[in-house]
Amino acid sequence: MLEVAHLSVQYGRHRAVDNVGLTVGAGEIVVVLGANGAGKSSVLKAVAGLQRPGTGTRVTLGGRELVGLPAHTIVEAGLALVPEGRGIFGELTVRENLLLGAFARRARADEDRNRARVLALFPRLAERLEQTARTMSGGEQQMVAIGRALMSAPEFLLLDEPSLGLSPLLCGELFRALERIRGDGISVLLVEQNAKRSLAIADRGYLIENGRVVGAGRAADLARDPAVQRAYLGGTRQG
């Protein structure tokens, strides 16, 4: 179980995240919905150790405190982040990106099995192992990013708006892949603006506005909630 409590993030005098709490249970897909600037990325960065959270913040993974650990140690603890903008190594090949995904010591024992899984999940990557990652399409780069994260043998996979910039067709593929990843026993914490699709695969969801949690519930209930429909499922958003 991943537990986040009293999470705050401050940039100078601007408080971007304020007293956020959320949990992700084993085998769950949990989605965090919020508009641009709501503080979603700040939450994920703080959990992954890329951004120092405010005092009082508690983040535990299976009971182990993660606050204060450097980002590379948090990966070793079993948490992998696919950051906003994907963060793949553009100058390196797909093969090298996956090789580095398994740089963590925890990933070495099952490296071959995880690679086989990733290539089964994204067969396109198997055909493109020698391609320089930066020359691939947006959808393929997202596969590299997720594949690289999976190579670290995570218990928890965090994704920051993975559907951003993908065509509806690729979006569908992406969300189906996330369901299969959960099927392999990996818990998923997903930050999205695409409410319809993400609520369709999620178990639970949180709504975040101006850095605060303003709603939470089972995904099916959230999808039916008129307030959620007005805010996140309006006709302007693609879905």
């Binding site: 992954a48 150790g49 890329l50 450097p70 980002a71 590379h72 140690t73 990966v75 070793e76 992998a80 982040l81 950051p83 963060g87 793949i88 190594f89 553009g90 100058e91 390196l92 090298e96 090789l99 580095l100 995904g101 398994a102 740089f103 963590a104 010591r105 990933a107 690289r148 994260a149 670290s152």
Partner: protein, 290 residues
């Protein structure tokens, strides 16, 4: 004659390439613009000289001893002098400016010590100065040996950086230090190791250079400048680019010195440098954005 000049140009170019690869590691990975870089080359050359004339040991033995020492020294310099700068720098650009100032100071410290010990005189020793005949051209055995060793070291480094997970991780830090943390790479340690490896490489080049060139305590700056030129010409962070640019520079310098005028070597160096900067600002093999 042409073959002789070409061979000695290739040897010099091999040294430049080695030196540039080390600077690429220090600058591309650790983001330290090390102005004292060439001083370590000269220090290693003096160490080899001392091995040969003082201890009557082969400079080849020096090649086994001096680079590991340079590795340890560079590692210590990084951890003690540079890491505080890394810690307080808000951006990579700020770190670059800070590191230029700090290593500029280091340049004078190392150079000052060498001047105090050896003075400004030129030194050389005669190791394996046997003329060899290759396809009608005469080459000194020490030059040829230096070239072969440079190729072996350069190739070994290239393979280590491209064919192993650890080497790939070092390159990944150069590509994206934030993303590197997300695959469990300890970026600070990787930077320290890359900086130290760069130091070992320039020390190896120093031992090799001492086998066939005369040198003095003031010459470090020249090698720092040439390394910079080669790195920028090849494309920052690009090992293959550094190799090609190093060879081009070595060849052109030798051709100009022999066939035109020795006084024009430096002018030729900067002429090529300027042409590359104007035509391909990202370097021969560099990408337009990095």
């Amino acid at each position: 004659m042409l073959l002789e000049v070409t061979l000695s140009g290739v040897t010099l170019g091999g040294m430049y390439a080695l030196v540039a690869m080390g600077l690429t590691l220090q600058y591309g990975v650790a983001r330290i613009m090390n102005l004292s870089y060439g001083e370590l080359l000269i220090a290693a050359a003096f160490a080899a000289l001392w091995f040969y004339s003082g201890l009557a040991l082969s400079p080849l033995l020096g090649l086994l001893v001096v680079p590991p020492l340079a590795f340890a020294l560079s590692y210590a310099i990084y951890r003690i002098l540079l890491q505080p700068l890394v810690r307080r720098a808000k951006t990579r650009d700020a770190l670059e400016v800070d590191s230029i100032l700090a290593t500029f100071g280091l340049l004078f410290v190392i150079q000052g010590v060498m001047l105090a010990v050896f003075g400004g005189a030129y030194y050389s020793y005669s190791f394996l100065s046997i003329p060899l005949n290759i396809a009608g051209a005469t080459v000194a055995a020490n030059r040829l040996l230096a070239l072969v060793l440079a190729v072996v070291i350069g190739l070994g480094l290239y393979l280590a950086l491209t064919r192993t997970r650890l080497g790939t991780a070092v390159r990944a830090v150069a590509v994206d230090p934030v993303a590197a943390q997300l695959v469990a790479i300890d970026v600070r340690t990787a930077s320290a190791l890359a900086f130290a490896l760069g130091g070992a490489l320039v020390a190896a080049a120093g031992v090799l250079v001492s086998m066939f060139l005369t040198f003095n305590a003031n010459l470090g700056v020249v090698f720092t400048l040439k390394a910079l030129v080669v790195v920028i010409m090849g494309g920052v962070g690009n090992l293959l680019g550094a190799l090609i640019a190093g060879l081009i520079l070595g060849l052109v310098e030798n051709y100009v010195a022999v066939f035109i005028d020795p006084g024009l070597t430096l002018a030729a160096t900067y002429a090529i440098f300027l042409i590359v900067l104007l035509v391909r600002p990202q370097g021969l093999l560099g990408r337009s954005s990095r």
